[in-house]
Symmetry: C2
Subunit: 258 residues, 2 copies
């Protein structure tokens, strides 16, 4: 660690459509890769590594993703933000740059994350939402879905909703919010907040809740999936396109007015 290095927190938004997900890969354009390339260039070629609050899958979007990294740069926060805004592509935008204490860790320090999942409820699918929502034209049983959603909040093991690619052993997470609401413009929005999420957890929850909404699953099936921890009982994984990392919250963020 060079003595001139400072730790930065960078808040980002992106359209996930043209990225192979968050994490750097040998091949393929990833959010982390494009961001690290820009920061490395800003630092005159000295390689920069960033730590993200959440690893979004290919096709998943972010309204607010947060990363931290060490940078050796003479630039002030606002100057760095301007430089990044000019260097990054249109589908990856810096929202805010700030210097943080060296101990800051984007993932570990997050107090909660919120993901939202958008449904396009129009009859034939709104072409302007095709990249950003799952089209679902049929009627949904809102009462059954709300009954199922009410079973979710709490601190529990989420193995029943973890994707097969999930490698973590401790699958206990505290879910604080699980809601569904339909707006006036023919859109439906799921919203989930937790201290952390497992691989594919939100997409598996949405896929299962849609089966409840269609009347294929009873609302109580949610309880059985949670109790058994058996992914086979859950519904299909909903497509990535409708999923948005909506917000990452940190202690003290609100006091700052962010």
């Amino acid at each position: 660690l060079s003595p001139g290095a400072r730790r930065f927190r960078i808040d980002l938004a992106y359209d996930g459509t043209a990225f192979e997900g968050w994490q750097v890969q040998p091949r393929g354009r990833t959010v982390q890769g494009v961001l690290e390339q820009a920061l490395t260039r800003l630092q005159g070629g000295r390689v920069v590594r960033v730590r993200g609050a959440g690893r979004t899958d290919a096709g998943v979007h972010a309204r607010q993703q947060v990363v931290d990294c060490l940078l050796e740069t003479p630039l002030a926060e606002a100057e760095l933000e301007h430089a990044l805004a000019a260097m990054l592509p249109e589908d990856l935008r810096p929202l805010r740059v700030r210097v943080v204490p060296d101990a800051f860790h984007a993932r570990r320090d997050a107090s909660s994350k919120t993901y939202r999942y958008r449904l396009d409820l129009s009859r034939r699918g709104d072409p302007l939402l095709a990249r950003y929502a799952l089209h679902h034209a049929g009627p949904l049983d809102l009462e059954a879905m709300r009954e199922a959603l009410a079973l979710l909040p709490g601190r529990r093991d989420w193995s029943g909703f973890a994707g097969s690619a999930c490698t973590v052993r401790d699958r206990t997470r505290c879910l604080t919010e699980a809601t569904y609401a339909e707006g006036p413009e023919g859109e439906g929005w799921f919203s989930f907040s937790a201290d952390g999420f497992l691989t594919h957890m939100v997409r598996n929850l949405v896929g299962t809740l849609l089966e409840v909404g269609r009347g294929r699953f009873e609302p109580g099936r949610i309880g059985r999936i949670l109790a058994a921890g058996d992914r086979q009982l859950a519904g299909p994984t909903a497509p990535a396109r409708g999923l948005i990392l909506w917000e990452v919250a940190y202690p003290g963020d609100e006091a700052e007015g962010t």
Copy 2:
């Protein structure tokens, strides 16, 4: 004209990003071309030609475009709509299909068209709006813009706002609405209704109004541009991406509840 042919009105929505505009071209994917191919296939290979209410440029979107065409098909309206929904791509959706009197003409019978133009007013540009809005971060002088907008409605010659590609001789159109409003989510919306529009007219109006909003043009310049009919006095052509053909209205549509 075969005796079995009926005239259909088809309402459509599309994301213009991946189309080279409305009109069929020798090369390039166009909305008219993709639609005619699907209808021709539906009719067992007998070529179908459609007439659109408006010819949108490359990159311009439609919330409601209307076409008419003669079709020889045994399918009922709802069946044809289903078939089209299955055949057309995700960025071109049928909204409604109905049989109309043979005299119906999508362009000539339209009583008014409405175009909207969307601004993304966020600081760094929302990546989820990049295809569908013009990013404009700076402050806009709303009072000056509204003063300029108030000069627009009326029946007049619009040569000052016509693009150089505009070939029509009679450039008189009746503009009935010209407004701008900012929403709570950091978006700005221009809305223009008229009995017809010239090539690039809306985009030239928006480009000019933004110069007024930035303080580079006085609101009264609008009057000079209209009086002189001189495109050189107007602002730049705003990018296609923010423009949406919002609505095409026909006499009797409202009575039907459409």
